[in-house]
């Protein structure tokens, strides 16, 4: 009798207690997209970037929402980091730099999160709505649906930016979110006047008369895999080996210039830890430069990777204030 990979001779006739993880989204999660994105992105990474280890999803459910995944042994990077020698920190940074480079080499045809797909009986993934923190805070998550604004996927960066304006216009106009608006922001400006300003800015951007759109070729950036929440509490280590990268719920396909903004390796709960993050983010940036050089990245891709981000996106992805 040939044994499958799921059973070993030791297990035959034996009862073993094993462990799985049940991941339950909180009430303010962007459902179902946040859960679907987590499931689909992990499947995508497992298939296309197998050297980036992620816990395998065994099952998921939308109502009620949960994911069951492998329990991975390991210690959080943020816990281990202070115990590493300088040499070990260098080695770990090089591993992260390779991961970032691999994500940056993984391109998509648009901007979006991922959703599981089933085409002709073949399980896979396809672009779906984006899942972003800036689309859910202060009650904005209530409007994360196509009937309120285009939640993605987006064919171009311009379409993506316009949707951000539509989101804010909906947020400040719709009765559903009327109670969520921070009225401290509106001591000098009426909400209705601010909505008009948003409409005007959106119109300028759409027509290409906005100074931001004139300065930047937002259409031409490659869209690459971005983790979106890459830090020391989402990386499980075994010594200096990466056992798993967790929490892909905010991952997606985004412009290359949004890929890298450092990795906070430790909790920023003191000035000393903040300095440690700054020091090693600077070092990681240097190592990443070496890694993408070794991997043959072009000059344009390198410039985008190490830019300060796309100014158009930076304008719309933060809270838009009425002053």
């Amino acid at each position: 009798m040939q044994l499958s990979t799921q059973a070993t001779t030791d297990e035959l006739g034996l009862t073993m207690v094993k462990r799985l993880v049940l991941r339950v989204p909180k009430e303010d999660a962007l459902l179902p997209h946040q859960l679907l994105n987590e499931v689909a992105f992990r499947g995508f990474v497992t298939k296309n970037l197998p050297s980036i280890l992620v816990p395998k999803v065994h099952a998921y459910n939308l109502t009620p929402p949960w994911i069951v995944e492998d329990f991975i042994e390991g210690t959080l990077l943020s816990t281990l980091w202070p115990r590493y020698s300088e040499h070990e920190k260098e080695a770990v940074c090089r591993k992260f730099a390779k991961m970032v480079a691999m994500l940056g080499e993984t391109t998509f045809g648009g901007i979006g999160g991922l959703v599981p797909s089933n085409k002709n009986g073949r399980q896979g993934t396809e672009l779906g709505p984006t899942v972003e923190g800036c689309k859910l805070f202060k009650g904005r998550g209530k409007l994360h649906a196509p009937e309120f604004y285009n939640i993605g996927p987006y064919k171009s960066a311009k379409e993506y930016v316009l949707a951000y304006y539509d989101k804010e216009i909906a947020y400040y106009s719709h009765p559903v979110t009327a109670g969520d608006i921070d009225m401290d922001l509106f001591e000098k400006v009426q909400v209705a006047d601010f909505v008009e300003t948003l409409r005007r800015n959106r119109g300028n951007l759409q027509r290409g008369t906005d100074h931001l759109s004139a300065d930047n070729n937002t259409e031409e950036e490659p869209f690459v895999a971005v983790h979106g929440d890459f830090h020391g509490r989402n990386i499980l280590m075994n010594g200096t080996e990466v056992n798993a990268v967790l929490d892909w719920e905010f991952a997606g396909a985004y412009p290359l210039s949004e890929l890298f903004d450092g990795i906070d390796v430790v909790e920023m709960d003191s000035e000393e830890m903040e300095e440690e993050n700054d020091k090693w983010n600077a070092r990681l940036r240097m190592i990443l430069k070496e890694v993408v050089e070794e991997r043959g990245w072009g000059e344009r891709e390198k410039r985008l990777l190490f830019s300060d981000g796309n100014p158009v996106l930076q304008t719309v992805r933060i809270e838009m204030f009425p002053y």
């Binding site: 009798m1 040939q2 044994l3 499958s4 990979t5 799921q6 059973a7 297990e11 035959l12 006739g13 034996l14 009862t15 073993m16 207690v17 094993k18 462990r19 799985l20 993880v21 049940l22 991941r23 339950v24 989204p25 909180k26 303010d28 999660a29 946040q34 065994h58 099952a59 459910n61 009620p64 949960w66 069951v68 329990f71 972003e132 923190g133 800036c134 859910l136 805070f137 202060k138 921070d182 401290d184 922001l185 971005v226 979106g228 929440d229 890459f230 509490r233 929490d247 719920e249 905010f250 991952a251 997606g252 949004e258 903004d261 981000g309 996106l313 930076q314 992805r317 933060i318 809270e319």
Partner: protein, 84 residues
């Protein structure tokens, strides 16, 4: 006033906390459902030999961690493979 999320990170930064409260009934129910789902998926898997049977049974659920948008629970399950 709350600060807007970091523009270069998709996930908002939210405080992490821990809990020692009892396991809610709905979590137990979800864990049972999850184990049933995983068990039936394993039984239907093509890689399992016809002469083998796998059984999964929920043993216990423990709080593991709380993140920004998830509460993570540890499911302990009894895994049995035997010849039929």
């Amino acid at each position: 006033m709350d600060s807007a999320p970091n523009i270069r990170k998709n996930a908002p930064t939210t405080p992490r906390s821990s809990t020692t409260s009892p396991i809610p009934a709905d979590i137990l129910q979800n864990a049972k459902l999850a184990i049933e789902r995983v068990s039936s998926a394993k039984c239907g898997a093509s890689g399992v030999d016809n002469d083998l049977k796998e059984e999964l049974e929920l043993v216990d659920v423990d709080f593991l961690a709380e993140g920004g948008y998830n509460v993570v629970w540890l499911i302990k399950y009894r895994h049995k493979v035997y010849i039929i």
